[in-house]
Amino acid sequence: MSLPRIAGYALAAVVLLALPFAGSHYEHFLLNTALIYTLIALSLVILIGYAGQISIGHAGFWALGAFASAILVTKTGAPFLVGVLFGGIVAAVFGALVAIPALRVQGHYLAIATLGFALIVQQTLFEWESLTGGRQGMFVPRPSLAGHEFTDDFGYYYIILAIVVPFFLLTVRLPKTRFGRRLIALKLSPLAAASFGVNRARYLTAAFTLSAFLTGISGALYAHMIGHLATETFSLITSLSFLTMAVIGGILSPVGAVLGGIYLTVAPEFLREFKSLQMVIYGVLLVLFMRFLPHGLASLPKRVWTGIQRRRALKTSSALPEGRSHD
């Protein structure tokens, strides 16, 4: 690792550790929310950015993680961290169950299957009153570690950070591994990858399961932060907001996932005055980003840089009689 790189990581670590000291209660809550969203955005970077598949039902996996952890902790008194892990595993198992049939065929069947799946999860959680509280929802205990209960979001921030950062590094690392390279090969050319012996269905199912696992963990962390779960939180709108966040941040990069997480936390604060038009703005942003900045905010610096360089190149070439600058 080069020196500037180490310095960069060290700086990021210091900033992340110091951040909560600057804010108030509400800002701690926003910080935690941003981290929880970042984890979902990371799961979508793996799924959409690396594997080239799409999910319109991640709220379903988020709900499974949240309710699984909440139910385990309240009904059996299991420790908080066990609940979080359990949330991730439940989401991953259901992820595999949805992906296995849907990924046997080429095309966008996974997107359709996840859309249906998320609607079913929400409906089932609503109807299953004895387990989830149905219409009333259910209360979730605050996170606790080794007998110490974290009653405010200041301490909880560090727990979430300790869980999200390894997943961030995993997502950064993934494209350099055998598994990640195969996923990207499948996205770029399914035929070429298959002819080199990459099993499409198996690798994409693994990617989807991993993605559902991350989202399940995020759901569990959310449940213990928010304290009360209501099934209407996990609607289609939520799934679509997740997708918007991942696209706007930048679907190809883990840094984009962080930007996306910040965006989804901050945007409602600014868009609140637009009320019912808030989601319309999300949709318009989604369409505009796909048209003009398909790799999201994370690609903006590079985009601006190449733009400046191109303009410079054009200036020097326009001195020539047959410059292409007026095309």
């Binding site: 049939p101 065929v105 997107a111 249906g116 799946f117 109807e127 319309v280 949709g283 369409v287 048209r291």
Partner: protein, 289 residues
């Protein structure tokens, strides 16, 4: 009892069939799965609703107007939003149709409110006699309208120059272009036609379920199930798939459980993908390298 169930199953099935038809039409022409199809249909229905109450136009006229309104909506979306990114990766196009879903869904709520509205039916409220059973006139009317739309679509594709050009372009884009067919025009036509068919599905659904901004979300899922059952690349397959889903769902609702009717469509999707992923009429794609 059984006749009533079959008629109401076919009636709701014809709505699924129309929406499935619209999606397969676009998919055949442009390889895009349009997730906004249901919301476009809902929005078209709301525009008709505005004409009905704003200008006081008669119900029959509003009903007929759903065709050009839907067509315009589809064609404009294709020209303005889809065409500029037509050569982008398929995932990008899919995300854009999801963006359109969000836009139409929430715009309708913002403009016309979140409460359901009643939408008048074209057909009489009196039940009618059919095969010795009393069935709802509305159900019979829905089936008749759907058959008319499908019949004219068939004639359009088989008998007109424009329709033949569209079929040619979906079979082999390159050869069609060499024959002087404008592929961008075909794409716009496909989106327009799909919008019009969706519009009819919308005005047929609204009298039955009340008109609101979420009216078409469940219908879209069932139309997907129908299209997958039919093979996603076959127009007759989409129609048959939609009808089968409507019939099975009505039977399931009457005999087993109404609360989990929506779950049922999802199970069909998974079942088809597991047993016969190419659907009843689909051919498995063979790609040349």
């Amino acid at each position: 009892m059984i006749v009533q169930l079959i008629i109401s199953g076919l009636a709701i099935g014809s709505v699924y069939a129309l929406l499935a038809l619209a999606m397969v039409l676009i998919h055949k022409a442009t390889d895009v799965v349009n997730f906004a199809q249901g919301e476009m249909a809902m929005f078209t229905t709301f525009l008709c609703f505005a004409l009905l109450h704003g200008l006081g136009l008669p119900v029959l006229l509003v009903f007929l107007l759903s065709l050009p309104i839907g067509f315009l909506l589809g064609a404009v979306i294709e020209r303005v939003i889809i065409q500029p990114i037509a050569t982008d990766p398929p995932v990008n196009l899919l995300i854009v149709t999801i963006g359109l879903f969000i836009i139409f869904n929430n715009l309708a709520g913002a403009i016309w409110g979140y409460d359901p509205h009643t939408f008048p039916s074209l057909f009489s409220k009196e039940p009618m006699d059919l095969l010795g059973a009393r069935v709802a006139s509305n159900s019979v009317g829905m089936i008749v309208v759907a058959v008319l739309v499908m019949g004219s679509l068939y004639l359009f594709f088989e008998k007109t120059r424009e329709g033949t050009a569209m079929r040619a372009a979906s079979m082999n884009r390159r050869a069609a272009r060499l024959m002087g067919i404008s592929v961008p025009r075909v794409w716009m036509m496909s989106w327009g036609l799909a919008g019009a068919i969706g519009g009819v599905a919308g005005v047929l659904t609204a009298p039955m379920t009340f008109l609101d901004f979420e009216m078409m979300v469940a219908v879209l899922l069932k139309a997907f199930a129908g299209a997958i059952l039919g093979g996603f690349n076959s127009l007759p397959g989409a129609v048959l798939g939609g009808l089968v889903i409507g019939l099975l769902e009505t039977m399931f609702g009457a005999l087993v459980s109404t609360a989990f009717k929506d779950t049922f469509a999802f199970c069909i999707i998974i079942l088809v993908l597991m047993i016969r992923p190419t659907g009843l009429f689909g051919r498995s794609g063979i790609k040349k390298v």
